[in-house]
Symmetry: C2
Subunit: 340 residues, 2 copies
Amino acid sequence: MSQLPNQPTEGPVPTSADVARLAGVSRATVSYVLNNNASVRISEPTRRRVREAATELGYVPHAAARSLRAGHTRMVLLPTMNFPAGPLHHRFFHQLESGLRRLDYTVVQYGSTGLDADDAPRAWAELRPVAVIAPGTIALTPQGISVLRRSGAKAVITLGPRPVDGAHALVMDQREVGSCATGHLLERGRRRIGVVMPEESGLGLFAEPRLAGARQAALSHGARIEPLPLRYEEESAARLAARWRTMGLDAVFAYNDEYAMLLMRALQDAGIEVPRETAVVGADDLMLGRLLRPRLSSVRMELATPQPLADLVDRLVQHPGGAPECHDLLRARAVHRESS
Amino acid sequence: MSQLPNQPTEGPVPTSADVARLAGVSRATVSYVLNNNASVRISEPTRRRVREAATELGYVPHAAARSLRAGHTRMVLLPTMNFPAGPLHHRFFHQLESGLRRLDYTVVQYGSTGLDADDAPRAWAELRPVAVIAPGTIALTPQGISVLRRSGAKAVITLGPRPVDGAHALVMDQREVGSCATGHLLERGRRRIGVVMPEESGLGLFAEPRLAGARQAALSHGARIEPLPLRYEEESAARLAARWRTMGLDAVFAYNDEYAMLLMRALQDAGIEVPRETAVVGADDLMLGRLLRPRLSSVRMELATPQPLADLVDRLVQHPGGAPECHDLLRARAVHRESS
């Protein structure tokens, strides 16, 4: 610990009163300086003295105490997801967080593991967030939204495949992905299209609207859509491949690239030629799909840029009480390679 | 909104005083009932009346106010990671969170995007957590640890490839992964081993100790270790494959399965036979690696079960002031398939 000549001993937690005493100023001045309150004129030497005293004592402001004094927090609650998010979502959240921080919000993530749709909003409300961005994996009810509102949340915003009554919605409409993949297969002349439905729990939220989008796109062409349950396991894919020819399909939209890689390998092992006999298209446009032979066709997704979203959250907080707004974030386009 | 006959209008946030008035009890009674304080005897009808009044008013306790009264929080801060975590880490964090919640802690995640090693602990300290589990992606300094301690954190715990002076450490020792992969290649008779070093930022934290582990394992066999910088792009892999034969390597540990898949495809496209000419081993034991031909050999990692870890966090909070503890979480073993 030689780097730390003034290593503090364990002792009472320093307060703003301690800082005020050491700097020879009032507690109000300490508060103004450390919270960067620009509306009060305080000389630069005084500001410096307060900051130095805070550093020497190891004092940092208490977010909860500050928010109690202010009557509200600047906390935006972003409940954590129950499944690993891909790089697309990860980057999106990361940038949204940065954007909100630039607007002086504190972004806090809070899990909902083991909490149901009633308990979760109550647990979130205890933190008194000024805004909640709830992912679609929690089925927010009007009651839950009301609990959050009454606890002081100015904006309750859902982020998921579809809007929820009474809340603002950032929609990542998964139907778009299904209709995009199916449209591509229809263009390639396919008319009997399987749609992989992952059996892993939690994915139905994405898979069901993708299937609905596929059905919608197939309608005008009189094409057939066949849902195909599949587990993310080699055995499950081998079983599906073994009965492939009995189903008379000429194409498959495989939910995403990982399921597509799994199924394409099983089809090839069963002697089914891709794309001649069956065209395969995934989604996510992973780099790994390009390493396959044939190279995997996919659907590339893009999300709206997050800074306007951070501004949107800020606007909804500043002007609560308006009608629920719905914003569409997702753009999808087919990427044609060799498997379709 | 027909599901909600008593949809509240926007109005002042209900307080415990409102609940007390409606239920005809004291504020203390409201607090005892809603915080499940079992040490005070309150009749079941009274408890029910309080709960019904709280529900009717949409009142939930204020975590910050409660923690201010109690003088400490039950908040465990788990800073979010700057990169997408794989399923192994995701499951681990998820279970650790559940374990801590069972012990009545509130687990809150807080990002550190754009904050440096000095700012981040100060931002965390503002939330007054009772414990912080900081991931290795933030280089906690003794000063940072001191700021957290002085703000009231009873336990500061780092979670990463190596311990940090003055904090408890949960170590996921990545050297183990490198030595395990290299040990496997040595066993298969290989002596000139390339080690892929991803050029993507943030991965050095894992790649460097993996390389060190490989060097360590190679030492006793007099084997050669050659670091191989690689970007996660087909062009980068093709360039490496094009000069492969000039390097005289007979094996490669490719950092993880994704880089292994990328490199193996490039080697095969360059006419290099795997495993005859060059053995390839990845890490993570992804299902996708089993779909390749030859099937990819890998290193499977396992993490300690999280419930004892939640208990450990609780013990460190209850008994602060002890010497820093270091616990090793990672177990690795080679999985031999066809590529090595």
